[in-house]
């Protein structure tokens, strides 16, 4: 049975390979939207931030967590929207 650290390490390495394989052939047209979409995905820290702001008291840790939550949400919401805006302009006429 693997310990949690080893499982995380397996997950990390396999996810790395997955990322490399996913993005091998991309038409240059899509480089900017792809970068933008992947960037929105890196806002996944929103999940981490959510777990840190579950108490009402405004301690330093909670305030740092709230700042993390706000910035991650901007990254996620703005990132996917801006990607969609780019793609909307050339997605409609193929």
């Amino acid at each position: 049975m693997m310990g949690p650290l080893l499982i995380s390490l397996y997950v990390f390495v396999l996810a790395g390979f997955l990322g490399f394989e996913l993005i091998t052939k991309v038409p240059p047209t899509l480089h900017t939207p792809l970068m933008s979409g992947a960037n929105a995905m890196s806002g996944i820290t929103i999940v981490g931030a959510l777990t840190l702001v579950t108490v009402a008291s405004p301690s330093v840790s909670v305030l740092l967590g709230v700042a993390a939550l706000i910035l991650a949400t901007i990254n996620v919401v703005g990132g996917f929207l801006v990607t969609d805006r780019m793609l909307a302009t050339f997605g409609s006429r193929k």
């Binding site: 996913l22 993390a68 910035l71 901007i74």
Partner: protein, 470 residues
């Protein structure tokens, strides 16, 4: 309370949406749906997490989501098509900052605020302790690097200031940051002192980002933003290790790897190695600017008369077109020519503009039909059979020095072979060099004619003059 195994199982759905979405995002036909799938995956991840944390005080959560969402929407609504690269850089900085803040919040929560004492390694376990330091280091340097990249793209900061002994400075800063972080999590068991060390780590990390981006010139900014994008993914993955959250690790690592590949693709497009880019700017031969002689210029009226008798025209857009917001004017001219039976196409260089694919985004916003946009490899052989090539605000990507001059800083970079066309019109504000800072012999050639002025105005008057011809 929901069984954690159930939420962990549901998180697989989120991961599947991310992977399928990213895959679809890399194909033109499916790109938009891919982005939507990824957004759905993110929404699912948030919902799963909210279910997982159960009944808690929701005030901060709701406040953070509402404020962040509103700011994100506002930034996108206010952005112009030409500002896309800056916007991506900014969001990227926020992503990195968020990961660093998550790590800091965790540190404060588990180490600084409890009264029990003990090092972070003892409280959180050494894996979380180490990855927490890594998350702060990468996240904070991504933030400062992205801010600097955005300022450089806007032109607020220009030039490529040299940092003396940059590699050494960077190395020392990294070692200092890791040492401060290591001491903070492994050695110090006084909370206040540990906090101080972590703040030291934060400051060192912020400086690393600045030193990394400062000497890199504008032409390389796409590569830098892509690299920073990759780093913000890795920062999220590190935060995932610190929080023992597989979803964070997977999504962060996929972005990290994908960003690295994209960075590599861009370097290949410019025929430069990543190391070369990171060392900074176009160095060496870049200093020989050279004077121009024998440059011929004309006015839109005469140029329109040439266009009138042309049978095929290729428009070559560059950053100047985006900066002058001339995409609609370019499309109008293309339409006017097409109405006269001229074959018109747009030649897209992969790194024209400030980001790969930048020209596609800009032209698509002006509703230029997708099939009129032709990529470099495909259109290069056609220049020889083309009557007129109209270069709009492009410079380095059409500079024949890349093929002819072995010592040139852009030697070997694939270019659009504009010089093979029968006539070349260059719409440009002046003869000032492009980002590589070198002279362009194309402008001196016999069949090249300059049309000085703002791209939007010149294209507009070409269309007007064309309409006045019988």
């Amino acid at each position: 309370m929901i069984d954690p195994d159930v939420t962990a199982f549901l998180a697989l759905g989120s991961i599947a949406l991310f992977v399928v979405g990213l895959k679809r995002l890399s194909k033109v036909r499916t790109a938009r749906s891919g982005n939507a799938l990824m957004a759905a995956g993110m929404l699912l991840a948030v919902i799963i997490t909210l279910v997982e944390i159960g009944l808690v005080d929701y005030r901060w959560i709701i406040g953070g989501l509402v404020i962040g969402g509103a700011i994100g929407v506002a930034i996108v609504l206010r952005a112009q098509a030409t500002q896309m690269p800056e916007i991506v850089a900014r969001f990227n900085g926020f992503g990195g900052a968020s990961s660093a803040l998550v790590a800091l919040s965790l540190f404060w929560m588990e180490v600084v605020e409890p009264t029990g004492g003990g090092t972070a390694a003892a409280t959180l376990g050494s894996t979380s302790a180490v990855t927490l330091v890594v998350s702060v280091l990468i996240g904070a340097s991504t933030l400062s690097g992205s801010i600097l990249a955005e300022l450089k793209l806007r032109g607020t900061i220009s030039g490529t200031p040299r940092v003396p002994l940059r590699a050494v400075v960077m190395g020392l800063l990294l070692v200092a940051g890791l040492l401060l972080g290591g001491v903070a999590v492994f050695v110090v068991d006084d909370p206040a002192l540990a906090a101080l060390f972590v703040i030291g780590l934060l400051v060192a990390s912020l400086v690393v980002g600045v030193v990394l981006v400062l000497p890199i010139g504008g032409a390389d900014m796409p590569v830098v933003i892509s690299l920073l994008n990759s780093l913000s993914g890795l920062a999220a993955a590190a935060a995932g290790f610190a929080l023992v959250n597989q979803l964070l690790i997977i999504a962060g690592t996929v972005v990290g790897a994908a960003g690295l590949i994209l960075t590599q693709i861009m370097c290949v497009a410019m025929n430069r190695s990543l190391v070369n880019v990171l060392v900074g700017g176009f160095t060496g031969a870049a200093t020989e600017h050279g004077e121009y002689g024998n440059v011929v210029s004309t006015d839109p009226e005469s140029a329109a008369m040439v266009l009138e008798v042309a049978q095929s025209v290729i428009i070559v857009p560059g950053y100047g077109l985006a900066a002058a917001r001339a995409q609609t004017a370019a499309h109008d001219l293309a339409r006017a020519l097409i109405d006269r039976g001229v074959q018109v196409r747009f030649a897209i260089h992969p790194v024209a503009g400030r980001m790969p694919g930048h020209m596609n985004v800009v032209l698509a916003e002006a509703e230029v039909p997708y099939e009129l946009l032709v990529e470099m490899d495909e259109i290069n052989p056609d220049f020889a059979q083309t009557d007129v090539a109209i270069v709009v605000g492009a410079n380095d990507v059409v500079n024949p020095a890349a093929n002819d001059t072995p010592g040139s800083p852009i030697a070997g970079m694939p270019i659009l072979e504009v010089g093979n066309a029968r006539r070349v019109f260059v719409i440009k504000r002046s003869l000032s060099p492009g980002y590589a800072g070198i002279k362009n012999d194309l402008f001196e050639r016999d069949h090249t004619v300059m049309l000085y002025g703002d791209a939007k105005e010149v294209l507009g008057s070409l269309t007007t003059e064309l309409a006045e011809l019988p």
